[in-house]
């Protein structure tokens, strides 16, 4: 009798740990097959048939369509370079260069993946419409109030995510470091 009880307890414990760990990885995201450069993280394998089971579960759970590998790669950032969460009430500057790609887009989402409404109807920039400096680098100012140059409105929401998508790019499963894929920096320069 005692043996049965102990066995049952052990099994229940194991189930709790297993289900809990799976829940955590599908809700918080995984590090399996993740490519992290600066504040940016991409999962190039989610765009292929050999996507890992955890990423697959995340995709199904959120109902999003991952970007196919022959199409491009998506990098996400939810914090700045100093790991401070991106706050729509602060001034954030995204600057530098992007990895080689025929086109790229930078988009601002709330934490549920929806666009943030604003009067300009501006939700991001494409590589073609961005204003660059003479050396080819760019600066995007993300803030709730209008800024000169490339301004991306936050609508003053507390937490947001940035997604940089590279289309037709050599960046992918084989990419490892900043040298292969120079990502722009993200700095919080002030909070109102």
């Amino acid at each position: 009798m005692r043996l049965i009880l102990i066995t049952l307890t052990a099994l229940l414990l194991a189930t709790a740990v297993g289900v809990g760990a799976t829940w955590m990885t599908t809700t918080r995201g995984t590090e399996i097959g993740a490519l992290t450069i600066g504040a940016w993280t991409a999962r190039p394998r989610t765009g292929t048939a050999d996507v890992d089971p955890y990423s697959r579960a995340t995709i199904v759970r959120n109902g999003e369509l991952p970007i196919g590998t022959g199409d491009g790669v998506a990098f996400t950032a939810t914090a700045d370079d100093k790991k401070k969460a991106l706050d729509g009430r602060c001034d954030v500057v995204v600057s530098g260069v992007t990895p080689p790609a025929r086109f790229w887009t930078l988009t601002l989402y709330d934490r549920n993946g929806h666009l943030v409404a604003n009067t300009l109807q501006r939700y991001g920039f494409t590589s073609q419409e961005i204003v660059r400096q003479s050396d080819g680098t760019f600066e995007i100012h993300i803030a709730s109030r209008s800024r000169s140059g490339n301004w991306l409105p936050t609508g003053g929401i507390e937490r947001y995510a940035l997604m940089l998508r590279l289309y037709d790019t050599p960046v992918g499963v084989a990419t490892r470091t900043q040298r292969d894929a120079p990502m722009p920096t993200i700095k919080t320069v002030g909070c109102s």
């Binding site: 199409d71 491009g72 989402y109 939700y123 494409t126 037709d168």
Partner: protein
């Protein structure tokens, strides 16, 4: 759908291959056009863009592996410019995207996708060949 790219016009085709293969034609827009294939469980199993297609129109045949094996093995079928995609599942999604590089170009991007077709093959395949080598 969360995390969609607002810079793109999008058209979606749900397919069911149980009645036979499907032919897909997508005219290429000015900036960038891509076609991605997903299984019913949203696994991205194939994607192609306008440059890798190398033509003004992305043209391909989608079929299941058994349907592919049943194709007659004459030369035309194996011709390099006929693109055949094997779908791992009988049903799934095709997502066609055209980039509007500036907001003003969105209508144009949508118009080029509106001309895309995704339909069952009516006649025996591989008789109509796309013009070669046009860039």
């Amino acid at each position: 759908m969360p995390f969609m790219d607002p810079a793109f016009a999008i058209a979606i085709c749900r397919y069911d291959l149980s009645g036979g293969p499907i032919k897909l034609t997508v005219p290429v827009s000015q900036a960038y056009t891509s076609v991605s294939f997903y299984t019913r469980n949203e696994i991205a199993y194939y994607a192609i863009n306008d440059r890798s297609a190398g033509k003004k129109v992305i043209e391909l045949d989608l079929m299941t592996e058994p349907q592919h094996e049943d194709l007659p093995e004459d030369e035309e079928v194996t011709a390099a410019d006929r693109l055949i995609i094997d779908s791992p599942s009988t049903t799934g999604l095709i997502v066609m995207k055209a980039l509007a590089a500036e907001p003003g170009l969105m209508q144009q991007a949508q118009a080029s996708l509106a001309a895309a077709t995704c339909a069952p093959q009516t006649e025996p395949p591989a008789k109509t060949e796309a013009p070669r080598g046009r860039r």
